[in-house]
């Protein structure tokens, strides 16, 4: 093509320009968030939004951390850890059955479970709300675990089944010849070999549930039981006009995932992309 020098020059200019432009688009809201979190309420009203904070003052952080923030944090950790462990175990078991066992309706049941990915969780909201009340679990952290595990299962079973289908059959045969039953084969062969698949679903579901809002919002109501996304919501309701304090809470709730991300970007990006089945 004759235009190639021109194209090369445009490329040389366009790539950094567009790259930096989107970097600005991405970071400007975060800059606003972090900068404002260091301002006093007074300052946020009087000075320009884009003015740097007068001092690197951690007052907002102190007052937020001295409030019930850590309770929300603790609840989030507990709910997410229990849910993710259960998701890994339960979906691995189901995936093992789908990938390696012969039984009637194998494919039909698998299809049905995978179809669960499309169901909008909002249709389950009211019945689950009523059910949770009946079970006496309303306003407890444990109310969240059932819905969290169940709604994460379709995609997790799907990913792990695909994964386990790749595990060489010879290993299974060898274990069987050694006298292993299905349970031993599952725990000694498949579970250890599914490490990468399990870590993908742990990362994906961990992040999704860490950020989950609607179930937590509907199934819990008091500070003692609510999770981090609700911390933002509750603070927002309480301090409507204290923008710096609210943005401090937003910053603090985002921090754990950002720190995790700093340690394993590739893994987290890959884990999140596993959700490209769910969106």
């Amino acid at each position: 093509m004759a235009s190639s020098p021109v194209a090369r020059v445009t490329g040389r200019v366009a790539v950094p320009v567009l790259g930096l432009f989107w970097l600005a688009v991405t970071t400007v809201p975060f800059l606003f968030m972090v900068m404002t979190s260091f301002k006093s309420q007074q300052e946020s009203f009087s000075s320009s939004v884009w003015a740097l904070p007068e001092a690197l003052d951690f007052v907002n952080y102190e007052s937020v951390l001295n409030g019930p923030f850590l309770t929300y944090f603790k609840n989030s950790v507990m709910v997410v850890v229990i849910s993710v462990v259960l998701i890994m175990l339960i979906s691995a078991m189901a995936a093992f059955a789908f990938a390696r066992m012969r039984f009637r309706f194998n494919e039909a049941l698998f299809g049905l479970i995978v179809a669960g990915m499309i169901v909008p969780i909002h249709i389950t909201l009211v019945p689950i709300y009523l059910m949770t009340r009946q079970m006496g679990l309303y306003d407890s952290q444990f109310a969240l675990i059932g819905p969290y595990v169940a709604t994460s299962l379709p995609i997790s079973v799907f990913i792990l089944t695909e994964f386990m289908r790749q595990i060489p059959k010879e290993l299974e045969e060898a274990a069987r010849l050694d006298g292993c039953g299905p349970f031993a084969i599952f725990f000694k062969v498949f579970l250890p070999l599914s490490g990468p698949g399990l870590s993908t679903i742990a990362i994906y579901n961990g992040i999704m549930l860490w950020n989950e809002f609607i179930f937590a919002y509907v199934l819990t109501s008091s500070t003692g039981t609510r999770t981090l996304p609700l911390a933002i919501w509750d603070y927002q309701g309480q301090y409507t006009s204290n923008i710096p304090a609210i943005l401090t809470v937003v910053t603090l709730t985002s921090l754990p995932l950002v720190v995790a991300y700093a340690f394993g970007q590739e893994k987290i990006v890959k884990g999140m992309m596993a959700g490209s089945l769910k969106g």
Binding site: F32, T36, R102, V119, H122, P182, F186, S276
Partner: protein, 308 residues
């Protein structure tokens, strides 16, 4: 399927092992099936049952009203406007996100050393919860204290400043912009993977034949991305149809229903107006709309399940 284990006909196994083998699938599947039955299937059915009631959800005075709620839904302009907003969200998600994501994927594909760090930073919005983003952008758009209007003012476009979330003309667009801002990097990474899977030998060979980078991109790489693109569209449409969190946090569906979605409308009926019966009708209606659109869409993209 071919990959189902073929068990050798070993008559040697004892009775206990045999029955264990017969029941093994059931045992392995039981926890998953049980949880899905309780938390997905039962609620799905129950929602349709509740849709036939007139009930505020509190007392025991639930009244069976048959299909009255469904008749109401059919002529409820608020619901159909909300559904229309879902469709707008879906269309704009695709139209805005796909081209930008593709451009960024190409940019990073050519950015050399900087591409890794840029990709990592671009991806940050996806780690944020929608509540965090919702609250952040509520202030970002704020009419008096918001940095957006300040920014417009700064670059001399002050006359464009608006009450972004408080104006019925802008609220939906303002929220869609945030959705796009968050999800563009997701599709970008998807497209990057698609581009990376383009065989290098082919572009080398094309170059030897005198094809320019531009030609290779338009004539070869872009067609190669077709499958990825289809997956991306399916994902973004299905995501848009059941969207809730961000809009609920930013506008609550308002002002005057201008940014109402099916899910926020359902929520409002149940938990604000305490019309649990009618709210369930809205939820079930939403389910039907989503399933209908999703199945049409999936029919058009059979590669959905084989992707990734």
């Amino acid at each position: 399927m071919t990959d189902i284990t073929t068990r050798p006909a070993d008559g040697g196994a004892g009775g206990a092992t045999l029955s264990l083998r017969t029941f093994a699938p059931a045992i392995f599947l039981a926890p998953a099936v049980l949880l899905l039955a309780v938390y997905l299937l039962y609620p799905l059915v129950d929602s349709f049952r509740l849709s036939l009631l007139d009930w505020n959800g509190l007392g025991s005075d639930a009244r069976f009203v048959g299909l009255d709620n469904w008749k109401k839904l059919a002529s409820d302009t608020l619901f159909w406007e909300a559904a229309w907003n879902n469709i707008l969200l879906a269309v704009f998600s695709v139209v805005v996100q796909m081209p930008i994501a593709l451009i960024l994927a190409v940019v990073l594909d050519n950015a050399g050393k900087g591409s890794r760090i840029l990709k990592i930073l671009y991806f940050l919005p996806l780690l944020m919860s929608s509540v965090a983003l919702g609250v952040l952008f509520k202030y970002f758009y704020d009419v008096t204290f918001g940095p957006l209007n300040a920014l417009l003012d700064f670059v001399g476009l002050g006359y464009l400043a608006q009450d972004w979330l408080g104006d019925t003309r802008f609220s939906l667009g303002a929220v869609i912009a945030v959705v796009c801002w968050q999800y563009i990097p997701f599709y970008m990474v998807l497209f990057m993977a698609g581009l990376a899977s383009f065989p290098a030998e082919i572009s080398e060979a094309a170059k030897l034949d005198g094809a320019s980078e531009t030609t290779i991109f338009w004539k070869m790489k872009l067609p190669h991305l077709k499958g990825t693109m289809r997956t991306a569209i399916v994902l973004s449409v299905i995501g848009a149809l059941r969207y809730f969190d961000l809009i609920y946090v930013m506008t609550g569906g308002g002002p005057e229903g201008s940014s109402e979605l099916m899910a926020t409308y359902m929520y409002r009926n149940v938990f604000s107006s305490f019309q649990l019966g009618y709210g369930s009708t809205v939820a079930s209606g939403m389910f039907i709309v989503v399933i209908l659109i999703a199945s049409v869409l999936l029919r058009f993209s059979k590669r959905y399940e084989t992707e990734v």
